[in-house]
Subunit: 470 residues, 2 copies
């Protein structure tokens, strides 16, 4: 009887919603400044749109929706349904009649699906941002939910590296506005390809990528072991170590890499990509941006997803108190819409990890203070004539744009004050007999504890000023 919510889901309380709106609002304003347009896709997709796009493990984590029309099927159909049901019990979801729909698993595949369905009417290049929840049947654990929000910005239909640079600008400006100190790591898949070539294993790019991806976690010696286990010979490992040990400024790194990569065409292309992207970034980055977002060329950056083909990026918080993985990432993919039969459209995009960004802002106490209570003033209710007096003041507050409320019942004073306190409302207005007789109002400031008797018009001015400083 006692109600609960499904494992891995959350109710978002008013305070949490307001904090999230602050994040979403900040990102939205930057996306719009850069000419990106909002898109929203349905929570449900056809199951066939999603299966086969996220790997075998991904397929299992997709939430499938039961077809509500099953009972309408004929007897003949029912044999088929029962066969499918047995597939479901044995973990196969290949035949989608029982579950023809599923919940959105990420924002990228629905975006690709949208572009394919609408490319005739879209003005290309199409820049879109999307901020919506996704659902995954992962085992819930601290910081990992079955319903969580993604926030993506992508450009499709242009190969210009200006797009990469603009996405770096968006990252820089977003985290600067949120006051989170970050490093934005940049690499190129082509450079990773080059790595596999110069160490003599051009076919082992994936193995090398997977191993390098663990550098932060297991250090170079761990990576070296894994590389050997994956069939890279000692010479190759030594070559890779040389690359990993390139230090210095970005341009020093790039100069050193030019030497190392000289024999690899792909590697040289990767270096050019990174160089050009950084040069565009230098031209486009806001000169007035508070706190430099640090762009760091990082040859060990791999990013798991196989569909990236060019520049890849990842954002990490550099504050010493914050232990947290990446809070953003992305890259260029050359053939995303090819999954749905539309070849030759290149795309590049970045993603913001909303939940992790929330946690960082919380940990560093970076949320603006005044978000937690939108209501600026509460008017207590002393009943009868005083209630009428209170309602008149309430109306005037709202007419002046002050978010205000009245305690709706003439309850005991203590109960009303307790409510005001629990809500964290800054100003309490007390319209008692004396105040009413004098056409005035007592205003108590909960922050300072101070209480003053004011003309109603003066009280409203005061609250208006307090609202404006929000």
């Amino acid at each position: 009887m006692k109600p609960s919510i499904p494992q891995g889901t959350r109710d978002l309380s008013p305070e949490v919603v307001r904090k999230r709106q602050y994040i979403f609002g900040t990102l939205r304003s930057i996306f719009e400044l850069y000419g990106f347009q909002p898109l929203e896709t349905p929570a449900m997709e056809n199951l066939t749109t999603l299966t086969g796009k996220y790997g075998e493990e991904g397929d299992r984590l997709i939430f499938k929706i039961l077809n509500n029309g099953l009972h309408e099927k004929s007897e003949a159909d029912k044999n088929k349904l029962n066969a499918e049901w047995n597939n479901v019990l044995s973990r196969s979801y290949s035949s989608p009649v029982v579950t023809e729909r599923a919940l959105r698993y990420d924002l990228t595949i629905p975006f690709a699906r949208y572009v394919v369905m609408h490319h005739h009417e879209l003005a290309l290049p199409f820049r879109r941002y999307q901020m919506q929840p996704v659902w995954r049947a992962d085992r819930p654990q601290k910081g990992r939910y079955r319903e969580f929000w993604q926030c993506d910005a992508d450009v499709v239909g242009s190969t210009s590296l200006i797009n990469e640079a603009e996405l770096l600008c968006i990252y820089g400006q977003a985290f600067s506005r949120l006051a989170i100190p970050v490093a934005i790591k940049v690499n190129s898949r082509k450079l990773l390809q080059g790595l596999s070539e110069i160490c003599g294993h051009p076919d082992k790019m994936t193995d090398i990528t997977v191993a390098l991806d663990k550098l932060d976690k297991i250090g170079w010696s761990g990576v070296a072991n894994e590389l050997q286990a994956r069939g890279i010979d000692a010479d190759g490992v030594a070559r890779l170590e040389q690359v990993i040990q390139v230090f210095g400024t970005n341009s020093e790194k790039l100069q050193a890499l030019v030497q190392i990569m000289a024999t690899s065409e792909a590697g040289m292309q990767g270096i050019t990509e990174i160089t050009d992207t950084l040069s565009y970034y230098a031209q486009l980055a806001d000169h007035n941006m508070a706190g430099d977002a640090q762009i760091v060329v990082d040859v060990s950056l791999a990013r798991g997803l196989n569909y990236y083909t060019g520049i890849i990026v990842e954002v990490v918080c550099t504050h010493p108190d914050v232990k947290m993985g990446s809070i953003g990432g992305g890259g260029r993919y050359d053939d995303l819409t090819g999954l749905f039969g539309l070849k030759g459209l290149s795309g590049v995009g970045v993603s913001f990890g909303i939940d992790r960004i929330y946690d960082v802002l919380e940990e560093l106490a970076l949320f603006p203070q005044q978000l937690s209570a939108a209501t600026k003033a509460i008017i207590l209710n002393f009943g009868g004539e005083n209630e009428r007096y209170a309602l008149d003041i309430l109306r005037r507050c709202r007419e002046a744009g002050i978010a205000a409320e009245i305690y709706p019942d003439a309850a005991k004073f203590d109960k009303q004050m307790k409510y005001a306190n629990k809500r964290g409302i800054q100003y309490v207005l007390l319209p008692g007999d004396d105040e009413r007789a004098a056409g005035r109002i007592s205003v108590k400031n909960f922050t300072t504890g101070e209480q003053t008797l004011l003309d109603v018009a003066d009280a409203i001015s005061l609250l208006q000023q307090a609202s404006a400083t929000l």
Copy 2:
């Protein structure tokens, strides 16, 4: 291979998202002005939370989510699962292992569930607003979707009619700000109870309510027939006709009803409820509100849902060109949280029909013009040195807060102009050789067709002014 989306769902294009954000933003600002707080609940609820709350038909229309862990069940469990599966095929969803979760069907039940789970920590009365999608497996048809948005504002934990009045104010102010002319119909369930008493059938309130609900559609003669079919005798029907034919201003109607209802205690209570609510409304309604929202006492207003116990309201658009059912409705319910074991909490709430409001705004061309394209300026890309010059201007635009973009490739002039046109961007900036040599920029206004050569600083001022008038 050609991708599609599930029946009854929609992709929301940038233009549509912006228009919807305008509606949501307008409503949010009014909710906050009235001291309501945002709440969000998960898309998934436990199936047991939802079943039995929406009637038998409702149970069938709930989207059930397949339990992804079915394959982990033991052999013994599988017999149980197969039995449940047969239930599913025969349209019964009572046993929730196969489908232990389901998609949110409305916002009211999750709100009640939230209040019950959190009432120890909540400051009561709790005023919340919630704007989220819900899902129903209804047969899709024009204007009816399987995924659609609800927007509710409720107060729980207070019986004061000030709450009813504030919700009427919110309706009035919202539709006034959206510029939709509306009538807000008000009735009381107690008055409907009174009707059944004065016509001699105190046990037939539901029958009378159901019949009266059709007055707009089938007229009085139709309603009279249905009343007789439902067992109301000729005397009773005559009594009801007398009530329906009460015309005039709200206070004239209420005076006439006092005569008619004199013998019914419930009826008199209903009249008092309405009178007091209107009196509170008169005190609280914004004096500066553009265009009067018309409050209309309507004894034939019934509202389908059985859980209402006091004041009920419904909003209809009164513009002669708009043929549309209600675009909002709500009322008081005395025992909503009782469904989850928490007795004695009274609530009152209203709902906004977002999709219908959208359609009305579209039909009456009431959306603000400048929503359709957020990007104010596009800078064309003539490559090489001119591209560098363009990037510098682009950065300065954004630093000045102007939403701007560059065409990322040095494509043919016509292609770039076509893109700008298709996007509906108002200003096109042309940084060619001559402009660059002179440190100036040509600015083409797509609305007027005019093209002028300006100093870059002047161009930015112009665009800044154009952005400010948004």
